[in-house]
Symmetry: C2
Subunit: 208 residues, 2 copies
Amino acid sequence: MNAAAQAIDTRTQILDIAEQLARQRGFGGFSYRDISQPLGIKNAAIHYHFPTKADLGVALLTRYGEILSSLTSEFMKHGGCALDQLEGFIAFYGDKICSNQGTCLIATLASEFATVPAAMQEAGKTLAMDIRTWMTKVLDVGREQGEFNFDGDPGDKALLILTSMQGASQLARMAGPATMDAAVRQIRADLGIGSELVRKWDRTGAIA
Amino acid sequence: MNAAAQAIDTRTQILDIAEQLARQRGFGGFSYRDISQPLGIKNAAIHYHFPTKADLGVALLTRYGEILSSLTSEFMKHGGCALDQLEGFIAFYGDKICSNQGTCLIATLASEFATVPAAMQEAGKTLAMDIRTWMTKVLDVGREQGEFNFDGDPGDKALLILTSMQGASQLARMAGPATMDAAVRQIRADLGIGSELVRKWDRTGAIA
DNA sequence: GTCTATAACGTGATAGAC
DNA sequence: GTCTATCACGTTATAGAC
């Protein structure tokens, strides 16, 4: 454990705590003190790693983008099972994010967009576009492969799914975790997953 | 224009500005100064009408609840055309709220829930429950009356529609107003409105 | 009802010692 | 890399004059 390793570790710990706080309380809902105190360091130490709060926010979004990218890049390049992609995303939301009243960082950013530094706005826009592009491909390919059944444009459908997950994760804070379950149940229903229609469609390979 | 009338008027003006600010920037995203300045009064004058910011927030939600109630109570009591109710809600969101990057107050509250006074949390919970109850009835009755076509539980479907509108109105800040259009398009598609299937269904009076 | 004046506090941020 | 010390600022809120 030399000095350099310790430095990196502190930086990561700061990001970890900041991300949890941002998800639960929003970017404007926590202060440097909320990070420094549990880490047992002083505010000035955080400013060393992230000179301004905007720097911290951008770093948060950048790291989040890399995680998302690692989960989606394989499918974006070579395709695969679309249902697995969708269910992976749902699990990502349900298990990691929605537990303990958090939301996706993109959802957090979207709800605070007007009050956030410009650098974060830019970083967020790219992220939101990327995830919608990915979900669109999942739905498009999935419908073609007979895994999903829905009407309308895959881009529209992607947006509907993403926004409802986003909204449900926020509403779950008010109405409890069953909110997420209900939203996911209906998302599946509206994709024909598990329904009579789609089972039939799976067997025949085309819409009856 | 006597003293009493002027008093009421100021109070309303405060609420109007506060509501607009809350929708665009969130409840924690504006200060008393943002209200007093455009009104040409001082902060202390606002404290006279609303002693604490929590009082202002609860008043905002109470008034919002009354407006919503006036739009939904007739249908809740005597039923009616479900499609009109849905389209009215969509217009409410699209025209009044989403324009100029605002959101529904319930969406605002949900996204800030953890950082908001307890009194506002309580007021918001009731509001969110009421609107979901209404939307559930709209969907249930509408499906029964042959206006909508969808699988699954009306309560789940209501949640999906409400949360996607909520999420889309937030995402529209990042991705532009076309975001709302796309979400609404898919909501209609997933209800069978305007689709081949439902036109057929309308003609025959039963699902083919 | 609205004003002036002020209090009490938390915040992001910086300078310089170690 | 982390510390102490400090700054400048905006915020909600209150007291008391008019």
